[in-house]
Amino acid sequence: MSRRLLPSGDAALLVECDSLEEVLALHDALAADPPRGVVELVPAARTILVSIDPARIPLESAATWVRRVPAEAGSRVAGAAAEGVVIPVAYDGEDLAATATLLAVSTEALIARHSSVEWRVAFIGFAPGFGYLVSDDWPFEVPRLDAPRTRVPAGAVALAGAFGGVYPRQSPGGWRLIGRTDVALWDPDSAEPALLAPGRRVRFEAIGAG
């Protein structure tokens, strides 16, 4: 596994990996037992930002820690985020039929695949609580809409690129909508405001379209 350490100011390091799979493994390994003074890990598609408190740990010590953490430590991690969550979905999204056509499968097959694979939150982007979901068993690459919608409702279940996602709040958006859920994804008053926090395992469950 390659890890390139890039500078990101005097209170953070940007660690670059070759693939999202490596980011996921390294994130698990780093999150398992961070030293005192490491305040936050922010994963993205190819990188993890390691934020520190320079008063509690020198940047050089954090760099040494990042270089030495064994990646396989990740397989032993079990935190709150590693607990799975099941999201019931009414598969009646506006783009469902068109997306199935784009992927050359039936809508039934698309729904069956989406609701049978195990997803995992790789990172959060775009908006608070908007988790980018990946799955080893998800074969599809879905192009974004040419023109983003100005208004996507909260709970819209969507696809873009190799990712799945659920809109946590009403917002503009260019992902293709395949369904919707009533599950609350974002609650700023909760101790865990984002349901889809990085590392979380996710399954979707088809419910009758209403």
């Binding site: 890039l6 100011g9 940007l14 305040v39 990188t47 930002l49 982007g125 908006a127 608070p128 008053d189």
Partner: protein, 286 residues
């Protein structure tokens, strides 16, 4: 309970404290006062803890009436401040009687005033902070004309006695900011790296709490192609496709897809908050 009745918010009046650190992995930026030093100073002048919520006022044009007696202080930008028509010295604490009208005129130096009231603005906290995040839409809504802001309970500390002569206004001329190395400096040509430090830059009109876009020579890229979005920090200087840099600030998106050439040192960020459109900016190595 003491309240501040806002008659005129001016260009923008936002409740801000020191923000929400440590939530970037959930997609939440730090937010908080753009000029953090000004907020801490205003709070100290009235005996508040550094992180009490105050008002961030862009450019001025603010008028409010105190309902109940209160100590207050105005820091950050420099301009005419008066209480019932009598001038109030900058960066100093003053006491308002019940019914007194505070007026904050157009800033002549800097652009963001901070108003602290003893007891702090008692808005509802979201994710542990009373800061308005203008991009994510978190925290107290922007203050509007006619709104009553509740003031919190008296803090334990007394109002300190300070020497008023120690106050300095934000600079009117060129401002020099310290830069740290950025993660994608190697995506740019050597000439771009040199131009960053040798050329004069100007703050564009596109400057807000999310980012401050600068105008200057085009920073040419050595490496083209797409960058997968990656986490940024406050002060990250990203360069868009047109070669112009933007300094990402408190309400920035927590990840960005433009390469970050350099990072404005934390000690220089408060100065960015006080830049006026058109003002000259220069960079030096931190």
């Amino acid at each position: 309970m003491t309240r501040l009745h806002v008659e005129q918010p001016g260009a923008a009046a936002l409740v801000e404290d020191l923000g929400r650190p440590g939530l970037a992995h959930l997609g939440v930026a730090t937010s908080g006062a753009l000029d953090r030093g000004a907020l801490a100073l205003a709070n100290r002048l009235v005996g508040n803890p550094d992180g009490a919520a105050g008002l961030e006022l862009v450019l001025g044009g603010f008028r409010a009436r105190f309902e109940g007696e209160a100590w207050f202080a105005v820091t950050g930008a420099w301009g005419p401040v008066s209480l019932d028509g009598h001038p109030v010295p900058p960066y100093a604490s003053a006491r308002a009687r019940d019914g007194a009208v505070l007026e904050i005129g157009t800033a002549v130096r800097g652009i963001r005033y901070v108003l602290a009231v003893r007891g702090g603005i008692a808005a509802t906290a979201v994710l542990g902070s009373r800061s308005r995040d203008t991009l994510a839409g978190l925290g107290p809504e922007p203050v509007v004309a006619g709104q009553d802001l509740a003031i919190g309970a008296e803090p334990a500390a007394s109002v300190p006695v300070v020497d008023q002569d120690v106050a300095f206004p934000p600079p009117a001329g060129a401002v020099t900011l310290a830069l740290l190395a950025g993660p994608r400096a190697d995506w740019f040509t050597d000439a771009a790296g040199a131009a960053l430090f040798e050329s004069p830059w100007r703050l564009s009109e596109q400057a807000d709490r999310i980012g401050a876009r600068l105008v200057g020579p085009v920073l040419e890229r050595r490496r083209t192609g797409e960058l997968a979005s990656e986490a940024t920090v406050p002060g990250s200087m990203q360069v868009a496709g047109d070669g112009q840099p933007t300094i990402l600030l408190a309400d920035r998106p927590v990840t960005g897809g433009y390469p970050v050439i350099a990072i404005v040192a934390p000690g220089s960020l408060d100065a960015v908050a006080q830049l006026r459109p058109g003002q000259e900016v220069r960079f030096r190595h931190a």
